[in-house]
């Protein structure tokens, strides 16, 4: 297909991702509520909240600087840009030529960097707590994440996302042992990255358990909306990535597969992501939040598993 068409398609894909992200959050909340024997709000509740926040007035602490006010925009831009490089529904992203898996990680890290700064900027102790905890977790996530990427790129070849996804699709259902280990470690890491239990409790408002929530505590109105939205976008992107790399079932092996196959593939991806989200939510109801200084143990597990994966690949 022509490059223009490709760009249009992938723009649509990104639009879909951004549009569906809050829905995913809603679904997770719903599942969580149900597993906790609650009715729970509608799955579209996140959309209502966003639209409400979008038109609300803002209260900004006077001890903040331009960092605080620009952070939501930077975060949003970085996250959405990252989405452009990830083949979410299609086994293809035209921008894979411009950036790869490492760039995606980098962009998400940029977003986190500014979020952490904003946490400090308001000069409140809550923001400080959030930032300092996030500093620890994010820096410990890094090695596990990179080791996973290492294994994946060894098994599927390179870091170019399109060719990774295609290669994964080619492998079909059977999964290499190294990939299995990588999957486990990546799952743990995504929990940490998206701030789910047992690392962080997205639903909390207790300073003892807050990480991400503490950093964005000072935000209100449109800024808060942007932050929440980017958070769910990030969540969707990462889950989709995991699905496409490790559970490629139903994903066509090439963009020339024809519209129906592609459509089916997209639907399959959507279903798998929702399923995965449900699993994550279910896990959240089963486990309690871990004490902050037990979190490193979990991340260490992730690293160790990934290392085993690498050993399995080479031997």
């Amino acid at each position: 297909m022509t490059s223009l068409a490709a760009d249009v398609v992938s723009a649509l894909q990104v639009g879909a991702v951004v549009a569906l992200a809050p829905l995913l959050t809603g679904i997770m909340r719903k599942v969580k509520a149900r597993t906790q024997k609650r009715m729970g709000a509608s799955v579209f509740q996140p959309y209502y909240e966003l639209s409400k926040l979008w038109v609300k007035d803002e209260v900004v602490s006077e001890s903040t600087s331009w960092i605080f006010s620009s952070t939501p925009w930077i975060v949003a831009v970085a996250t959405v840009t990252a989405a452009f490089f990830v083949p979410v529904f299609l086994p293809f992203s035209p921008f894979s030529a411009a950036g790869d898996l490492l760039l995606v990680v980098g962009l998400l890290a940029l977003a986190r960097f500014f979020t952490m700064l904003a946490g400090i900027d308001a000069a409140s102790a809550f923001g400080g707590i959030g930032t300092s905890r996030e500093m620890m977790i994010s820096s410990l996530v890094e090695p596990g994440l990179f080791l996973t990427i290492f294994v994946v790129s060894l098994t599927l070849g390179g870091t170019n996302l399109t060719s990774l996804v295609v290669a994964a699709a080619k492998t079909g259902v059977v999964i290499a042992p190294s990939m299995l280990f990588a999957l486990i470690s990546l799952f743990v890491i995504i929990l940490a990255e998206t701030g789910r239990l047992p690392f962080d409790n997205p639903a909390t408002h207790l300073e003892l358990t807050m990480v991400h929530e503490a950093m964005v505590l000072e935000y209100s109105g449109r800024s808060l909306a942007l932050l929440e939205w980017s958070q769910s976008t990030k969540q969707l992107v990462l889950l989709a990535l995991l699905v496409n790399l490790f559970l490629p079932l139903g994903m066509p092996t090439s963009i020339e597969a024809g519209v129906t196959m592609l459509g089916l593939g997209s639907v399959a991806v959507l279903l798998k992501v929702c399923l995965l989200a449900a699993v994550v939510a279910y896990v959240e109801t089963r486990v309690a939040k871990w004490r902050l200084f037990r979190v490193p143990d979990l991340l260490a597990v992730a690293i160790a598993v990934a290392m085993v994966g690498m050993v399995f690949f080479y031997l």
């Binding site: 602490s61 411009a98 760039l103 980098g106 960097f113 000069a123 820096s139 060894l154 390179g158 690498m310």
Partner: protein, 691 residues
């Protein structure tokens, strides 16, 4: 590129720096002194850039031999500027230019207290010596300029010599670097033993037929020697002492450039004199990989708990040097297996990171300098809120932080991308042990990257954001225009090197004469590409920063457009108000997080490394009731593992031996005569009864 144009350029540069060193001596008024010394320095550095750039563009080696001969024919003072030398001269010039501009303003902060004149001329000598080190082509002249560099930098480190601590760190620095020089000298002289000549040309000529043992010996000696100057663990201990002691513009040069000169020596030896050729040499590469990754980790760990801004930056230099050496080591490993393409990739990564680190570390130290000038303290726990007081400094410090944290879209990210790609390419090494160990080494690098960004959240956040933590920070003022200008140059370099990588990559490629294995990486505006090809799988991973920037821009535009459209319904207003204090009344600056508390979780996680020694003092209202405390104060300091567990014991041992030896001087003439008697008889016995 006509040679005569070159041969006028180099003397011109030398002359300019010498002028800059001498001119200030004739003036009396500090203002004039700083102009007289730093303007020539700036021009000279600019010319250095020109010279190196023209060498790089012309793809030809420039030789220049002066008539001066030290003592023996092969000790003549001759210069040889090939691509490698030119590339490092480029680094020197690129950093020295903004720093000289910056110094114009910065030097005034010393006027009255110290002699600006001394600062100016020493700085000129310092830069000149570094340029000449890279340019020179003989063992003697190399050591000459090398030690001149150390000497000048030492004098700059003890510039504020009233402080005993500065003197002590100066001595540590000079002694450590002298030890390094000893190793370098040994390495070169072992080569001399092989070739019988002191000129680098002969070393190059005989690089091929170097005995394996000799090669290993030279390699290890050079690694220790140059590693000491570059601040490689465990020879790094001088670095966090010396850089904070020196004036900030000097720290910028030392950390940005001088460490690279150490790297230059390492590169020169590995690529020119002791070239790895057989798989037997791979372990040398692994040695560098291990040293590099441990340096990276150790450096960033210490930086993450440091609250003195300049010390933190110094530790980050250790970290980045580690990353550079890691890349170099990888390329050595690949070279020794004859994997040319990925060897080039790893070398590209390492050199690119050298360039980047030079630029952004220079920028950061300049920023730290203007913060120092503005607030009068280097302790971050006394800063805060400077983003409002010194907006420009804040902006550029932020740029530097993003760059050094390896985040897109700035230059740090590109070189770290390349380094990671080089690590990922290690699957081509036909040796499982090496594959695995390189893979595990990548953990250290990844952890380093993560901790680095965390640390710079702390560095920037604590010093520039939230509220002032002290009166000094309250009254901080923005730096003068010349300093801003210097930082602007460096900052824009950071951006340029980030979004237009092909400039640097093509320079490096021509400098190091790569066969165009990754050709598209050097084409203008072309993406950086790394090929993958193994059992059936083929793919090309690529990164095109201009594209990324374009995309980011359009996304941003789209978002703003969306906001405009979606928000048009109701006009929202933004009300400033106090930070929510949780209902406890007004927040003082004491309630904010400090640098120390911010890094507390990390310190706790890496307890085994820092072995923090924490003392808690509780003050009670009454001894009967220990539940109600009047005050609780916590003191926590981390230990310098290397000094306490490595250097102090070694030093103690040496001192013990020396102490025993010197006691020979008993003051008793009887013992003196006894020595003579024993010596005579011993020597007689030796000569008479020896075969």
């Amino acid at each position: 590129m006509t040679p005569d144009y070159f041969s006028t350029l180099l003397p011109a540069i030398v002359a300019l720096f010498i002028l800059g060193a001498l001119l200030p001596l004739v003036f009396r008024d500090p203002r004039r002194e700083s102009i007289a010394s730093f303007v020539p320095a700036a021009v000279g550095s600019l010319l250095t850039v020109v010279l190196s750039a023209s060498v790089l563009l012309s793809h030809q080696v420039f030789r220049f031999s002066s008539p001066v001969v030290a003592a023996l024919p092969s000790m003549s003072l001759s210069f040889y500027i090939d691509g490698i030398a030119a590339f490092f001269m480029l680094i020197i010039g690129l950093v020295a230019t903004p720093v000289s501009v910056y110094s114009l303003g910065y030097a005034n902060s010393y006027s009255g207290k110290h002699s600006v004149r001394a600062l100016g001329s020493l700085l000129n000598v310092f830069v000149l010596s570094m340029v000449l080190v890279t340019a020179t082509n003989g063992v003697f002249s190399f050591l000459l300029f090398w030690e001149l560099m150390s000497l000048a930098s030492f004098l700059l480190v003890v510039y504020e010599h009233e402080k005993e601590t500065n003197l002590r760190s100066g001595i540590t620095y000079l002694v450590m670097t002298h030890i390094g020089t000893a190793f370098i000298m040994a390495a070169f002289l072992v080569l001399y033993f092989q070739t019988g000549s002191l000129s680098f040309d002969s070393f190059r000529a005989s690089a091929g037929n170097l005995g394996p043992f000799t090669k290993d010996l030279v390699f290890v000696l050079a690694l220790v020697g140059f590693g000491t100057k570059a601040g490689l663990v465990p020879m790094h201990i001088w670095l966090p002492k010396a850089h904070p002691s020196a004036p900030s513009n000097v720290s910028a040069l030392m950390s940005g450039v001088m460490l690279k000169v150490g790297i230059y020596g390492l590169v020169r030896v590995t690529l020119d004199f002791a070239v790895p050729s057989s798989p037997g040499d791979a372990w040398l590469g692994m040695l560098m990989v291990v040293a590099g990754s441990s340096s990276a980790l150790v450096g960033v760990l210490y930086a993450s708990v440091e609250h003195d801004i300049k010390r933190a930056l110094a530790y980050h230099s250790v970290e980045n040097i580690g990353i550079i050496v890691l890349g170099l080591g990888l390329s050595v490993v690949f070279m020794s297996y004859g994997l040319e393409t990925i060897a080039a990739l790893a070398l590209l990564a390492s050199m690119y990171h050298s360039l980047n680190h030079a630029v952004f570390k220079g920028l950061l130290f300049m920023g730290a300098g203007s913060v120092l000038m503005g607030t009068g303290t280097a302790d971050m726990n006394k800063m805060g809120g400077l983003a409002k007081k010194m907006p420009w400094t804040a902006l550029f410090f932020l740029v530097g932080s993003i760059a050094i944290a390896g985040l897109p879209p700035l230059n740090g990210f590109v070189s770290e991308w390349l380094t990671l790609q080089a690590l990922l390419s290690s699957y081509q090494v036909p040796n499982v042990v090496l594959q695995l160990s390189i893979g595990f080494a990548s953990i250290a690098l990844a952890l380093t990257v993560g901790l680095a960004s965390a640390t710079f959240v702390k560095l920037f956040g604590i010093s520039f954001l939230s509220r002032p933590r002290s009166q000094a920070a309250e009254e901080a003022t923005e730096a003068p225009v010349s300093m801003i200008a210097g930082m602007t140059i460096a900052g824009s370099l950071c951006v340029a090197l980030g979004v237009l990588p092909f400039v640097a990559t093509s320079a490096i490629a021509s400098g190091f004469g790569f066969d165009m294995g990754l050709v598209s990486s050097y084409a203008p505006f072309g993406p950086l590409t790394v090929g993958y090809a193994a059992d059936g799988l083929r793919s090309v991973s690529s990164l095109s920063m201009p594209m990324v920037l374009l995309l980011t821009g359009s996304v941003g535009a789209a978002l703003l457009g969306f906001a405009a459209v979606a928000g048009s319904g109701k006009k929202t207003v933004t009300r400033p108000y106090v930070t929510w204090e949780g209902g406890f009344g007004a927040l003082g600056e004491r309630t904010q997080y400090t640098a120390t508390s911010l890094s507390q979780p990390i310190r706790t996680v890496f307890k085994w490394f820092f072995r923090p020694h924490t003392t808690v003092e509780r003050d009670f209202f009454s001894d009967s009731n220990h539940l109600i405390k009047k005050s609780v104060s916590v003191y926590s300091e981390t230990r310098e593992v290397f000094e306490d567990d490595l250097y102090s014991p070694a030093l103690r041992g040496v001192v013990y031996v020396l102490d025993r030896m010197r006691r020979l001087q008993t003051g008793k003439i009887n013992s003196y005569l006894l020595y003579m008697m024993v010596a005579t008889i011993a020597l007689l016995v030796l000569v008479v009864f020896q075969p």
